[in-house]
Structures are given as C-alpha cells and as structure tokens.
C-alpha cells in the first residue's frame, strides 16, 4: 500500500553478521519532504541501515519499505526512487566527471534528451561546471563528494540517502556541502547519517540517535540538543567504580543528570578503571570543587574536570561510544 505520508517505513529491522548484531530491531518512519538524521558513533549501525535501505544488503529480520514497496521484492522500482551516496564515495577514478555522470544517468534510466538538460542542472547545482572534463582521480576529496552527490541526484529521486556526506572534508567544503544538502532538503526527502551533533542540528528535522544497533533517542534535534544545552556541562574523568561515582555525582548540589561511560585510550579500547562522566548542572551551578573533594574523599583519582570547554559533539561522541548510555 502506498502511504501518502511516510516514504520510509522500517519495522523491527535487524541485521546480524556472522559474529555480531549490527542493527538490533529498530523501527522508524520518515515523512515525505522530511530530513531525517542518523546520529551515532562509528559502529552504531548507521551505514548498515543505509545499505539495507538502498538494497545493497538484506535485513536478517523485519520489514523495510520505501514508498510502500519492499526494498528487496521491488528492488528495481525502489532503486529508481532512491539516490544513494555511500560512505567513502566510491567512484570510477579513471573516468571523466561528465562522462561518469552521463553513464550513471543512463544507467538510472534517463533518456538521452532528458539527460542533456539534467547534466547542466546538476553541474550548476553541485558546482561541477569547471571540472566536468577532468579525470575524477585527479580531483580533490571535496569534488569527489560533489560528484557522488550529483550521481545520487541525477535521476531526481524522491529519496536521498547520504552516508556521512561531510566526512573527511575541510571546514569550507563541509559548509558548502551542508548548504547544498539544505537546498536539497526543500525538494527531496533526505536521510543523512553523521556523527556530528551540530550537523544533525543544522540539517535535520528529526534525529535518531543510534548506539550499538539500537535507537536510543528519537526527536527533533532542538529537543535532543536541549538535553545537553542550556545547562552547565562538566566533563570529568574519574578512576573508580562507575555506578558509585555516578551516584556520587548525582548527589551533588546543582547536578541535573550524569552520563557515564568508560574512557577510551588512543586505540579506542576501554582504559582500565577510568570512566568519563558528563555532568549536567543547573545553569548557574559550578560543582567542580565538590566533585574533586568527593572523589578525593573516596580515594578515586581525578584527571580531568572541564567546564563546557569541550565541544558538545565531542562529549556526545565519547558517550555514545561507551557501553552504557544514560540520556535522561
């Protein structure tokens, strides 16, 4: 059944690989014209979900429908409705830009005449006019990203799936790509995945926070960011039993909430008994002295105590990278 309101309908989507569960029974919907963001650290299941939506992988369990059609049963029809930009923007490096886009356009079913008009539109939309005769392999990462976007857009799909569209770009390029996505969001339904909170906040109307294959929060980005913003936030690293330390922190005056997770060393593995805490406090509160005194009283070592100096997104990334998530 065609659903007038929702273009994506995902129910209990599960994907198991040989040794692990990448996506663990998630359900969500995306409305037509909406920009939806997947936010989460690496390994949260964002890319796997994207690949299943794009029809590159099959779900182990659950149902995935795009425009009322099952993505595998009606793979052919569904793929014509989708423009997909994979994570590392794979392109045929030896081809020229215009030639590549023509090849992709024809492959996606555009007639020669339609393609001729479309090529001009897409080149100006993605800023590719002055490189259209260049060999793709000789261009920069930023251009690769634009070529990938142009490829995803060329057949004017209803639904755009963009997997980490700004990863590996410099700040100017990031800004340009974000502007472009914003423009696209006015005409298309866009699903983007990112691990930047600000990006999700700037681009999306709805954000799903994924961690370990589960949706841990789903809301408008303002509401999610509000969980951390408008409060004083203190980042602390304490060596000691996690639950006791979290309880100690919660008990301090002015503290609203505590998010705890193990510290990561440089290899990304948990660093022994060290845990990191994000302590949310009332706007005026500054319980740093109490925290250090509390840790000292219990004999726990304290090696970091920062008052909102870290970017929110870093803290967020650290926390969702942990085993235990306690967004309250």
């Amino acid at each position: 059944m065609k659903d007038r309101k929702n273009i994506i309908k995902v129910k209990n989507l599960t994907k198991r690989f040989a040794a692990s569960i990448a996506v663990d029974g998630i359900s969500f919907e995306a409305q037509r014209g909406e920009t939806l963001g997947f936010l989460g650290p690496n390994g949260a299941g964002k890319t796997t979900t994207m690949r299943i939506l794009a029809g590159y992988l099959a779900a182990t369990d659950g149902s995935v429908q795009v425009d009322g059609l099952d993505v595998l049963e009606h793979a052919y029809e569904v793929r014509r409705k989708i423009g997909y930009l994979p994570e590392h923007v794979p392109l045929y490096q030896e081809m020229r830009v215009a030639e590549y886009l023509q090849f992709r356009g024809r492959l996606k079913g555009l007639s020669r005449r339609r393609l001729r008009n479309r090529m001009d539109e897409i080149k100006s939309l993605c800023g590719l006019h002055n490189v259209s005769g260049r060999i793709i392999g000789h261009l920069s990462r930023g251009y690769h990203q634009r070529i990938g976007l142009a490829d995803a857009l060329i057949h004017e799909p209803e639904l755009l799936l963009l997997d980490e569209p700004t990863i590996g770009l410099d700040p100017n390029q990031i800004r340009a790509i974000r502007e472009l996505i914003k423009t696209l969001g006015q005409k298309h339904t866009v699903v983007i995945s990112t691990h930047y909170l600000v990006e999700a906040e700037a681009l999306c109307e709805k954000v799903l926070i994924l961690n370990h294959g589960r949706i841990v929060a789903a809301d408008a980005p303002a509401a999610l960011a509000g969980l951390l913003k408008n409060k004083t936030v203190i980042a602390a690293e304490i060596a000691g039993p996690r639950h006791e330390a979290a309880a100690m922190l919660r008990g301090l005056p002015g503290v609203v909430g505590v998010i705890a997770g193990p510290c990561r060393d440089q290899n990304g593995s948990p660093a022994g008994e060290w845990n990191s805490y994000v302590v949310e406090c009332a706007p005026e509160a500054d319980p740093r002295c109490e925290i250090s005194a509390g840790a000292a009283a219990r004999g726990w070592a304290l090696r970091e105590l920062i008052l909102e100096k870290k970017k929110l997104e870093d803290i967020f990334a650290e926390i969702t990278g942990s085993v235990q998530v306690d967004l309250q």
């Binding site: 794009a54 590159y56 052919y76 793929r79 794979p90 992709r104």
Partner: protein
C-alpha cells in the same frame, strides 16, 4: 471485479520500463567496462605482448614448415605459446571485474543502481570476452599471409581455420566465465588471478597429462573428455565434435550463473 486504473498503470509501467532498461543497461555497463581496459596502458600492453608472442611463434612454425609438412590449423592454433598467453590474458582481464570494484567500493554504487545482478555479470563477461575477440582479430592476418604465400598448386583449406577459431572462441568463453566467477568471489585481484590460473590448468594441463598417466578407466575417460588440448588438436584439424561445444557452452552458462549467485550472496552475509 474490474482492476483499478491505478493498479493497471502501475504494472504496465513496471513492465515497459523493465523491458526498456534490460538490454540498454547491459550495453551501458559493457561499454564502460570495455573502455576501462583502455583507460590505462594495461589493455594495450596485454594486446601488444599477445601479438608479439603469437607472431613470433607463427614465424617459428613457418620456419619449421620449410623442412617438414605442417597443416594450416597446426601453424595457427597448436602453438603452446599461443595458448599460454591467451590463458594468462584471460586471468588478467577477468581479475579486476568484480574484485577491483569490491575493493574500491564502486560495487556498492553499481549494485544499488536500478540494475539486476544478472545484468552486471552478463555485461562484465561480455566486456572481457569482447576484449579477447579484439585481441584475436589481428591473428587473422596470419591466415591471410599463409593464403597469399602458399606454395604454387597447394590448396588452402578454409575449414580447419574456421573450426580452429571456433574452438578458440569456445574455450575463451568458458575460461572467461570461469574468471568472472573467480573475481566475483574475492576482493583481491591477485587471489582472483591465481584461482583462475589454477582452475584453467586443471582442464588444460592436468587433464592433458593425466589421461596418459592414469590407469583408472573411468577417470581416464573423464580427463580425456575435458582436456582442452585434445579439443584443440581435433578442431584445428577440422574435426568438429558436438561434445566439447556443449561442454564449453554449458560450462560458460554455469559459471555465469554461479557468479550471479556469488554477487547475490552479499545480501545475506
């Protein structure tokens, strides 16, 4: 109950667009893949080396024919060097087909476009096969030379020439399909080429030698039947047997089918 117009339009559209796209997709993919061989020096180098070696072995057999009688088909198709370089070429040109796309990630954009896995496999096979055909075309000049410079009064028979090329094309299709399958299994081009080479040596070298060394009747029979060398010996003398034709054609279809399955397997891993 009458079908709703919407439902009818839906099915019609689907069928029409499918028919429209099926063949053109294969041609589009074939074109890209075939041209990719010539985007780097690799394609040219392979063809030049092939022509050099097959040309030299042709000269050598011509020189031998001054002292002994050699048949036309023997001069053109029975050189071990000719076959060696054909097989090496097949391993080299089939290895990137899927392995490279998988390695670089382009397989993901390719297979999420509105194409079927079978179209992709067919196009890649056709592109590699076309390369082999293009590479073989200049060897027709050898036949022309033999015709022009034959001894006065000697007859030039066309039949061994045609059947000789027939077996080259059949064996070429079979091993190309085998190479496509090997490439569809891995993301390493080296692994693909090695597997392809090993597989080819079974029917080409092993079968040819084993049929003489074995004293086991059924096995000996099997090896005689699948020995490509034996087929080449027959066909290049103008002896056409339907059995090898069926063997190579069905083998080609089998390996292409297995390739489609190997590509589909990504869904369920």
């Amino acid at each position: 109950m009458p079908r709703s117009p919407a439902a009818c339009r839906w099915t019609c559209n689907e069928n029409n667009s499918f028919r429209h796209i099926t063949m053109s997709n294969v041609l589009l993919l074939l074109r890209r893949q075939f041209l990719a061989y010539f985007r780097s020096p690799a394609g040219y180098v392979v063809i030049i080396i092939f022509l050099l070696i097959s040309g030299l072995s042709f000269c050598r057999l011509i020189a031998q024919s001054a002292t002994e009688t050699i048949q036309v088909g023997d001069i053109l198709f029975r050189s071990a060097y000719f076959w060696m370089i054909v097989l090496v070429t097949i391993a080299l040109i089939t290895m990137p087909l899927f392995a490279e796309e998988r390695h670089s990630g382009t397989l993901e954009t390719l297979l999420t476009a509105p194409v079927t896995d079978a179209q992709v496999v067919l196009a890649k096979f056709a592109a590699a096969y076309l390369f082999i055909v293009v590479m073989l075309l200049p060897t027709l000049s050898h036949a022309v030379l033999l015709h022009l410079f034959r001894d006065a009064g000697a007859t030039f028979s066309l039949k061994p020439l045609l059947t000789g090329y027939l077996i080259v094309l059949l064996i070429g299709a079979f091993y190309t399909a085998f190479g496509v399958f090997m490439s569809s299994l891995t993301k390493s081009m080296v692994v693909s080429a090695i597997l392809c080479g090993l597989g080819m040596s079974v029917t080409f070298l092993l079968a040819d030698n084993a049929q003489y060394a074995l004293h086991n009747r059924p096995l000996e029979y099997v090896f005689t039947q699948i020995s490509s060398v034996q087929h080449v010996l027959d066909f290049s003398r103008g002896i056409v047997d339907s059995q090898p034709i069926v063997f190579y054609l069905s083998g080609t279809v089998l390996f292409l089918y297995l390739s489609v399955k190997a590509i589909e397997a990504r869904l369920w891993r």
